[in-house]
Symmetry: C2
Subunit: 321 residues, 2 copies
């Protein structure tokens, strides 16, 4: 348990630097203007956001012994994340993600993740020590890209559940990732262990027979998930549990860069949920985190502090509308 | 043998994209302006330059099945390089090199090469076919970074030497690379097989007891190297063989970007040497290639065509001075 008495939140998964093309429609087939390296990786963005809200938290991950690893570790540490279980691996590069934007707002990537340090994470003695203090594990589906990483994540889930802790799960996947070896099975396995499920849009239906919202949610609650939070981007979010349904509109903000918004939303929700806040308050904080994230360029540029989140909620009249 | 009757030049080694920081003194510890991806990799720059001079040539290499691989293969193909032995490896990233520049002109890098596609090159059936037609192999010391790659290079050298072909060798290493497993031995082995040795500055002394220029050259010629070409950057180059010494001053040009200049110099020299040009002409072409390379931003941006090289030589009065 965390000495302050608050719960300790842990995540495990990929850390990367992100390099962004600066012009809409730019390709990676010829040189052009880029900006970076930005600290990134879905679980890293999540845990950075949680830390900046004051949540006690740590991360199990690996980076290379290079500037890109230093950049990420320094960022997480500055935000207040326990980085004792972030390994630095000599001779292995820190993961990279190059992203470019099409005129329709869609993104395309060139990744180096499975063969980067992120593909070599392990349940090290430091990770075991962190998990020994953890109350909650958050899993990003994007992290389940290789058998080695799946093993670390499943081990973390098992350890924390065995001690009476809780698990949240954000599928956070692209359709083409479902074909990675073992990924579909790993997603099912994590879903079966999770208390709090945070799908975006059609991810709700990834593992349900029902293909309508109410039906899919009923099926998930039946299977033991206690809470489903459906992320709908600019249309807000909906909370479901056995007590009922709570919908919350999104804050009206200009979208500068969507990268990381879902991760920040999740961190806001999980942090509030862990201290027992009611659904409407959890959703409001989560929506504010998502809104701050889309309003800033760079994956972690928009992770807001508690004061920034509270200011956004107050400026919108406290309703999130 | 090449159907045109000219000799076929082959190299083997790393292909990468290069991402450049645009501001002097920029670090990779925070986001900043970058430009890229540029096609790069020392042997790739070398072979691109050779092709643009009209030399029949091909490369044994590997890239990922990603935009960065496409970028490189398209570039080499457009320049006239035989890319039949450049493998595209699914699930493995194309190599990357991030470079930044200090105020004193020195460079610092973040590499992903040994664990990229470049670390997975192999003597494929396509490589064997290419080597079956090759008259000359050029080796970059920078390519000897792993046992797998060393095996491919040594195999190429052996195959071509066994058929009466020739070998050129540019050490092209940074001191810290000498500690890679097997690299020092591989450099010695290639040196023992090479006809044409192209060291830069103090690389001349890497494998000699003598630590003065004349003594080191004598030692190398004694050991079976037929020609030594010492690259001295802005001070030009010196050619040594059993017949004597030929020095050639560099062309006076403003240095925009030194990356690739030594590789282009080598390609100019080797191409001229393969068609039996006399030392002074080989040096002049090599110097012109080097000068064009330092005058352009981007590793392959300055690989000149035969017409551009001839124009530079003509504009300097044909003396290279």
């Amino acid at each position: 348990m965390d000495p302050t008495g608050s719960k300790l939140l842990v995540t495990a998964g990929e850390i990367v630097v992100e390099i962004m093309a600066t012009q809409i429609g730019q390709t990676f087939l010829e040189p052009g203007p880029l900006v970076g390296p930005f600290p990134s990786g879905a679980p890293a963005i999540f845990i950075d956001q949680a830390a900046r809200l004051g949540q006690a938290c740590g991360m199990i991950a690996a980076v290379g012994d290079d500037d890109f690893g230093t950049l990420n570790v320094e960022r997480l540490e500055a935000s207040g994340v326990d980085v004792s279980a972030v390994a630095r691996l000599p001779g292995v590069p820190t993961g990279t993600a190059f992203v470019r934007y099409a005129a329709d707002g869609s993104r395309a990537f060139v990744f180096n993740i499975p063969l980067s340090a992120s593909g070599h994470i392990a349940t090290t003695p430091e990770a075991t020590a962190l998990l020994g203090r953890a109350d909650h594990v958050h899993v990003m589906g994007s992290s389940l890209f290789s058998p080695a990483v799946i093993a670390v994540v499943e081990d973390a889930v098992r350890t924390v559940k065995a001690r009476g802790g809780t698990v949240s799960f954000d599928p956070n996947i692209r359709r083409e990732m479902l074909d990675s070896p073992g990924m579909r099975e790993a997603l099912s396995s994590v879903l079966a262990s999770c208390d709090l499920f945070l799908p975006s849009g059609s991810e709700l239906f990834l593992f349900t027979r029902a293909q309508d919202e109410e039906g899919a949610v009923a099926e998930l609650l039946q299977r033991g998930v206690s809470t489903v939070v459906l992320k709908k981007g600019a249309e807000g979010a909906v909370h479901y549990d056995r007590a009922g349904r709570t919908a919350m509109p999104a804050f009206a903000v200009e979208e500068i860069d969507p990268t990381g918004a879902g991760d920040c939303f999740g961190a806001g929700f999980v942090s509030a949920w862990l201290r027992g806040a009611p659904p409407a308050e959890c959703l409001q904080i989560a929506n504010a985190c998502g809104a701050l994230a889309v309003g800033a360029k760079g994956p972690m540029a928009g992770t807001g502090t508690l004061a920034e989140v509270q200011a956004m909620i107050a400026s919108a009249g406290g309703t999130g509308a």
